[in-house]
Symmetry: C2
Subunit: 183 residues, 2 copies
């Protein structure tokens, strides 16, 4: 089994939709995949060099001097499908908020309340962003074959954010009860 870079997969997948510069790639990933994926420049540029050497993408001069736009090659598309078929890599969980809450008696109910309240805000913001993304996706006439899949990922975010919200409300109530009961 050869090496598999998660970044390669994301980059090839994004380029399969439309050719882009490295800079635009990052923006596209942030805009469209931001809820469940992220890449930084420090990953994207080395990845593009690697993929070009492997023949999976090719660069052609962009509109500006000193910028190049990348497009997927035929072998790049094959590689993309291969990478997609590999089992997703599970990132080991690391939720700093829940870690702190688990040991909440060290921190005190008041401080925990703040942690959870912040988490609730985050979920609210995510819901708003997802609503916007849903509207944009449903309005977009191009790429109708991609739309149902994109809506599924948006729905995943919505389910998750609503669950976070419900949990936060329930937990804030419990924490308030703890505070009222003399910490």
């Amino acid at each position: 089994m050869p090496r598999t870079t998660q970044t390669d997969l994301a980059v090839l997948a994004a380029l399969s939709v439309t050719p882009m510069t490295g800079y635009a790639l990052r923006e596209a990933i942030l805009d469209h995949l931001g809820a469940f994926w992220s890449e930084s420049f420090g990953q994207i540029y080395p990845a593009l060099s690697r993929l070009r050497e492997a023949g999976y993408v090719e660069a052609f001069d962009g509109e500006r001097t000193g910028s190049s736009t990348y497009r997927l090659t035929a072998s790049g598309r094959t590689q993309l499908v291969d990478l997609m078929r590999e089992a997703p890599v599970r990132t080991p969980p690391r939720n700093g908020m829940l870690l702190r809450l688990f040991f909440g008696d060290v921190l005190g109910a008041r401080a925990c309340r703040e942690l959870v309240a912040e988490y609730r805000d985050l979920a609210t913001r995510q819901l708003a962003e997802l609503a916007e993304a849903r509207r944009a996706t449903e309005a977009d006439d191009a790429g109708t074959s991609q739309r149902p899949y994109q809506l599924m990922t948006i729905s995943a975010g919505e389910h998750s954010a609503r669950a976070a919200l419900a949990w936060a409300d329930e937990t804030l109530a419990s924490l308030d009860a703890l505070v009222a009961a003399g910490r």
Copy 2:
């Protein structure tokens, strides 16, 4: 702002409950925090050395030769509280399943269905584990001051897993419709 290791926080927090060996530490983290935290030996042992040099933990000989049990010192408890008060580190999201689903037309509806079905299974397993954890926590008479907090983290897992389950069911139906409509 000095360095902050996530691992230090987890280790100090776990040792605040009861003294342990490095090996037991890993088991405890896996058992009790597994749903939202993870540490490997490669992190734990160096962390223990570091923390001992800093005076945050001290080792005393364990029951076996060649094993030492670590306990939190007074300054370690102070440090623990300080670390807890720091804002949780946000891990950038990386969900390989959703990445693949977003570009689902590259992969095809059938393969996507399998991805989602696996995800559903995972959520089901998590729910079972959480039910067990809830029972164990509610039955445990020791450390009653920690119990409400532990139940909150269990509830977080339950909300999240139930949301994953609901989404998966909804999405499997959509994918079936796509397959039926001629892929």
